[in-house]
């Protein structure tokens, strides 16, 4: 009899130590959200390199009692993902990814057509439009209230640049990291759906047909000088942008110098993928039920979409100005590539341009504003960081 009651006690203890007993409704909903994101990553290939780690991190952290994100208390060490998350929290991973991006990026089209840089600046309006929208949202929906730093983190989704968004959000509003990262990467993968209607609505058939002159060849010296000059100029102007711009340009110099191919190869391949794994799974791990399941997430998703749309629109509108000023030599479509999302948005420009005129090749012309957008959004992030940080 004693034995049976002891067995019963032990079983009861065991059951209360399993996750099932601690499972909440919030956990269940979050697990479903994680599984949907996983489906989108695997089946639809929406930014799978990031969305898959993010969704799995989300799944892991919502299985109760796992303690993966637990802070260390006293002698007790913290959870595995808590330690990996330090790379995000301390601002280490996003700049490392930027280094890899730099080692992959060819700034040649931008050097060949310096005016196209302005399109990369114009498209950053989306960031600030969404930022203002986030501040004003409480007047429309009283339940959702964002303060300045939160609004800035939401706005940066419009930069269409994952590492920049994660970097800024961990500095300004770490509690919103999960929804902001999910919004940023989901919308980036939806660029081919979001951008074309806006591009068509704002341009005429004639404008879309414009063929642009072939770009001049860019010498090796120019390509080597470019990252050095950008670093000096931007970091002097905006020290807060140093981690992002500095690492981006460092990676690019490794590539262009021609003497450090092994380093460039490592930065853009092995290292970047290693960091991507850590970044993805830990960003996902911040999306626990309390952080994700509140009306703010809906606000973030809506404002992120607005940021993307406005960024595309202002890019195209600025492209129209350049079309007028240049006497019809610039195809305004390339303005849409000013939102970073390299090289997806440049490909979208190429596709939309080709629909109007099958012999039109805008890809290289769009790469100029595209890579300028990366620099532009990093600068915008630097400004927001220096004001709210």
């Amino acid at each position: 009899m004693d034995f049976l009651s002891m067995l019963g006690e032990t079983l009861k203890d065991f059951l209360s130590s399993t996750g099932f007993s601690a499972l909440t409704m919030g956990n269940v909903i979050m697990m479903i959200v994680a599984l949907i994101l996983m489906y989108l990553a695997i089946k639809k290939e929406y930014e799978p390199l990031l969305l898959l780690p993010i969704s799995f991190g989300m799944l892991l952290v919502n299985l109760p009692l796992s303690g993966l994100m637990d802070h260390p208390i006293g002698d007790q060490i913290g959870g595995l993902l808590y330690y990996l998350y330090q790379g995000d929290e301390l601002g280490i991973f996003p700049p490392l990814i930027f280094m890899g991006v730099g080692a992959l990026t060819d700034f040649g089209p931008l050097i060949a057509n310096p005016r196209s840089i302005l399109l990369g600046a114009a498209a950053q309006f989306g960031i600030f439009f969404a930022f203002l929208g986030a501040l004003l949202l409480k007047y429309i929906v009283p339940a959702i209230h964002f303060n300045g730093p939160e609004a800035a983190s939401i706005g940066i989704i419009g930069g269409a640049d994952g590492p920049t968004a994660i970097y800024l959000t961990t500095k300004l509003a770490p509690h919103l990291l999960g929804p902001i990262a999910v919004a940023a990467y989901s919308y980036m993968s939806l660029v081919p759906i979001i951008q074309p209607p806006i591009m068509r609505a704002l341009t005429t058939k004639e404008e879309r047909k414009v063929k642009m002159e072939q770009l001049r060849p860019v010498s090796k010296n120019e390509k080597i000088l470019f990252p050095i000059i950008v670093t000096i100029l931007v970091v002097l102007l905006l020290p807060a942008a140093a981690p992002l711009i500095g690492m981006l340009m460092f990676g690019n110099l490794l590539k262009e110098s021609g003497v450090t191919n092994k380093l460039a190869e490592t930065a853009s391949n092995a290292l970047m993928y290693i960091v991507t794994i850590f970044l993805g799974i830990t960003v996902g791990a911040t999306a626990n039920a309390e952080a994700f399941l509140n009306p703010k997430t809906l606000g973030i998703l809506a404002l992120g979409l607005v940021a993307f749309a406005i960024g595309t629109a202002t890019g195209v509108l600025f492209g129209k100005i350049m079309y007028k000023v240049s006497g019809g030599k610039v195809n305004p479509l390339i303005g849409a590539a000013g939102v970073s999302a390299v090289p997806m948005s440049a490909r979208v420009v190429q596709k939309v341009g080709k629909e109007e005129n099958p012999s039109n090749f805008l890809l290289m012309h769009a790469m100029g504003p595209n890579v300028a957008g990366v620099i532009g959004s990093a600068i915008a992030a630097g400004v927001l960081l220096s004001i709210f940080g």
């Binding site: 050097i111 302005l118 309006f125 600030f128 501040l135 010296n221 915008a380 400004v383 927001l384």
Partner: protein, 120 residues
Amino acid sequence: MEEFLNGLMVTVIGMGVTFIALIALSYILDLFRILSNGSSKKIEEPKQEIVKEEVIHEEINQKDGEVEDDLELIAVITAAVAASLNTTTDKLKVRSFRRINSNISEWNREGRISQIKNTI
């Protein structure tokens, strides 16, 4: 409302700095273009020298006498000169070539030919 005004200020500063930085960059890149135009002129100059040099080359290398297959010979000469000058054939033009009498003995010639054949 004050928050919104602050937000507007941030927007103006943010877009202002972004534009200033990128406009400055675009003007610096204009300097690049000017510099690279300067250096491309430098590349053109040796082009003419090459043509001259190459005329001399052929004069030395070739013998007078019956012309067998001019076009083929010109192609070979152009390629050889281009390879030795580290340039491409489209930058060279063979204007004339003429065979020159060699005063090498028959024995020497035979020796050279056999050596070339052996190495090949």
